[in-house]
Symmetry: C2
Amino acid sequence: MSISNQNLKFYNSLTSSKEIFKPINKSRIGMYVCGPTVYNTVHLGNCRTFISFDLIYRYLKHIGYDIRYVRNITDVGHLEENSDDDKILKRAKIENLEPMEVVQKYSNEFHEIMEKFSLVKPSIEPTASGHIPEQIEMIEEIISNGHAYEKNGSVYFDLNSFSNDFDYGKLSKRNLDDVINESRKLENVSDKKNPQDFALWKKAADKHIMKWNSPWSLGFPGWHLECSAMSRKYLGEKFDIHGGGIDLKFPHHDCEIAQCESTNKKNPANYWLHTNMLTLNGKKMSKSTNNFILPQEIFDGNNKFFEKSFSPNIVKFFMYQAHYRSQLDISNDALLASEKGFKKIEKAFFLIDDLKVSKSCDFNCDSWIDKCYQNLNDDINTPKLIANIFEIVKFIFEVKNDKMKIDKESKTKIKNSLSVFVEEILGLNFTKKSSVDLDVDLIELVKEIRNIERDKKNYELSDLIRDRLNSLGINIEDNK
Amino acid sequence: MSISNQNLKFYNSLTSSKEIFKPINKSRIGMYVCGPTVYNTVHLGNCRTFISFDLIYRYLKHIGYDIRYVRNITDVGHLEENSDDDKILKRAKIENLEPMEVVQKYSNEFHEIMEKFSLVKPSIEPTASGHIPEQIEMIEEIISNGHAYEKNGSVYFDLNSFSNDFDYGKLSKRNLDDVINESRKLENVSDKKNPQDFALWKKAADKHIMKWNSPWSLGFPGWHLECSAMSRKYLGEKFDIHGGGIDLKFPHHDCEIAQCESTNKKNPANYWLHTNMLTLNGKKMSKSTNNFILPQEIFDGNNKFFEKSFSPNIVKFFMYQAHYRSQLDISNDALLASEKGFKKIEKAFFLIDDLKVSKSCDFNCDSWIDKCYQNLNDDINTPKLIANIFEIVKFIFEVKNDKMKIDKESKTKIKNSLSVFVEEILGLNFTKKSSVDLDVDLIELVKEIRNIERDKKNYELSDLIRDRLNSLGINIEDNK
C-alpha cells in the first residue's frame, strides 16, 4: 500500500475537527502516547487506550509509514489527588517493597498484559525516573523564559506569566479564567503564587525515598514534565501525533503544551488524539464502588461480572466495535455477542479455501476493499470496518450454501484482505481450535462415554478407558 | 526449609576459597548481578551466567531467604576495545536507529530469551542511562576524596593515588605493578595521567548522540561506574553477593571495588561469585571465526552445529551438568546426551504415581535428600546434584521392574523432593507428553472405543461418538 493512495483523516482534539493527516516528514512519523503509572495492575480502561493506539500504529505502518513510537512509563512524580503522596511510594509502603521494586513488578505485569493483547512493542519506552537530567534542564529553560518560579525548593509553572505570551488550555478549550475558577487544590498550594499553577519540581519531604539533587532541592519532578522532556528527547520539538486517554486532555496535556511552548515556542504535536472511557455495566469503573474489573480477571473468568472467561482477542474485538472516541460499555452480553461475532468471522475465514469456484463472482471485491480503507481512513472507524467485514462474512456463507458465486481471483483477494484487515491491522488472531482446548474437550468426551457405559454396567469398556487414560497420564476417579 | 539448617558455602573470588555464607541481615539478602549490554542479541555464554545466578537466587529463596535481586542493563558507556566507539551507538549507526531504539529492541529480545529459559525476573532491573545523576554524584565524591582528576572535560580514576590508600586488584589478584605492565590502551589515553587509569566520565565528541550535562562536560559515564552507583542506590553500600561472568572480574569488578572503596570506604559485596566460560566444539565462541551460536538458533534448530533443535529446558539442564565455575563445552553430542538424560528423569518422575507400594523401602530417602542438600550447599554443585537425581531415577525404574521395593511414605517423599530439586530449584520443567501428541492419542482412543462398541452393535454410542467428534471438527469415516 503506498502512502499517496491514502487520505487518512484524524480527529484532532486541538481543532476539534477531522483533518487530513499530513506528516512532518514524508515517510517517517513520530508518535508519543502517555503510558501507564506503574503503581498498580493496569486498568482495563488504560488497555483500551493502548489497544487503540496499537491499531493506529499498525494502520500507519500498513499504509507505508515508518514510525518511531514512544510510550512512556511513569515511575515517579505522579501524586495522589489532593496530596503530596507519590502513587508509587504509597504502594511501596503497602507492599513493603523498595519503590523501584514496585516499579519493576508492575512494569513486568503491564508488559505481560500488553503481550496477551498482542500489542506491538513501542520503539522506545522511556521512564520518568530515567530522565531526571532532561527534566531539570527543561525546568531551567522555563525559569529562564520567565514562566516558572522557585519557592522553598519547589518550582512552579506560572500560568499568569505564561498566559501573557501564549494561550493556555487550547486542548480542553479552557481559558485562564475557567482554569482559575475550576482550580482544585491538587497539590499543597502554600508555596504557589496562584492555585492554578502546577509543580515542575517538588522538594521532597524527609520520608520521601525517590529524590534527586537539583539546583533547587533534593526532590522529584512534577508529573506533567516527564512527557514534555521525553517526547522532546526522542521525537524532537515538533512531532506528528500525541495520544492518550481523554482524562489526560486536561490538565496533563494542556500542561505539556504550555511547558513545550514555554521552552520550544511551539505546541509539540500536530495531531492530538484522545481515546474515550470504558464503563462497566453502564457505570464508571471504580474500586471504591466495587464496579471494577482487571484484564486478567476477564481472561481467566475469575470475576463476578461475566458468566465465562473471554480471551484477550475477544476483549480486543469487543473494543473495536465502538469507535475509539466513543464511550464504550463492557458487559456480559456485549462480550458474548463479540465472541459469537468473532467466531463467525473466524469460521468464514477458514471456510474460504474450501469454497467452490465459479466463473463469475456475485461480489465486487475491489469496491469492498475500497470501502474498508475509506472507513479506516475516516479517523480509524472500526465499527464501520467491522460492519464491512460482516458483509463479506455473509457473502462467504452464502457461497458455501450455494446461494452466491465466487470466482478464483475473488477468493484469493477476499482471503488476503480479510487477513490484512483482521490480522495485520486490527491485530486479532484467527486460530483454529487450539490443541489445549481440544484436549479438554476430548477428555470430557471420553469421560462422558465411560459414564454412559458404566451406567449400563459395561465395566469391560469402562476399565479399558480408565487404564488407557491413566497411561496417557490422565487420572480418573470413580465417583461411586 | 529453615535457614538455620543450612550450611551453604560459596566460593568467594575475593578470598579464593569456599566460605560459609553469612548474610548481613538475618533473612534479607542483597544480590547484584552484572547484566547484558543491549547492543546485540544476548550471547549464549551470558545466558549461562544468568542461568547460574537464577539457580543461586532460587536456592537462596528455597532455603528461606528474602532476596532483593538487582540485575542491570548497560545501555550507555560500554566502549569497544581500543576505541571511543560506544557499542550501542555503533549498532544504532548500522541499524539506522536512534540509540534508545537499539536499547529497546535488544532489551526486549533479551527478556524474551530469559523468559524462554524460565528465569525469575530480577526485583529491580536498572539501566545505566536512567542513573546519570547517581553516577555524576559518585564521580564528585571520588574527586573530592582525591582519587580522580578531570582533564579536558573527562574524569579519570587515579590508580596511583587510590593505591596509596587501598589495594587495587583484590579480585583478580593483581597488584598495581601488574596492572601497569598489562595496561592495554583500552581508551584514548592522551588525557590520562597514567595508562592504567580508567574513565569515570568521558567528554562526548560532537557526533555522539547519547550525552548528558555534567560539571565537567557534555558527556557520558564510564562503563565501570554504573554498577557501583546502581548497586549502592538499590542495595546500599554493603550487600551480600555480587556476581557476573568471569571475564568481568578484571577490570570491571576490580574497578567497581576501587570506586566503592574510594567513596564508601568499603568493598561493596561480601561474596564475589563468578561464572565460567562456555565454549563451542572445544573452541572459544567468536563471531570472527564463525564458531558462534545464538540461543534462538539452538531452540529452532536453525544452525550448522547441531543435528536437531533443543529446547531451552534441555540447554539449561545441559549447563547444570558442569559446575558454574567450570568451563563448559557445548556440542551436538553433549546436548543429545543431556536430552536423553533429562527425558529419563522426566519419565521416572511421571512413573512414581503408578509404582506398586510395598511395606518396606529399599532406598533411604532421608539420607538421599541430605546428600542433595549437601551438594547444593557445597557452592551449588549441580553436577553432583544431578548424579544424585540419577540415583533416584535408577531406583524408580528398579521399583517399576519389581527389582526394588518402595513404601507409601517414600513414594510421596521422592515425588516431592524430585519436584523441589528439579522444578523449583533447578527451574526445569517436567512436561507430560505434549498436548499435540495427547490430541492424537485421545482421538485414537475414542476411535478405538467406537470400533469396539460398533462391533458389539452398540450403535447408540458409536453414533454419539461420531457426532461429538464431528462437532469438534474431527471427521470420522466408517470403514464398513
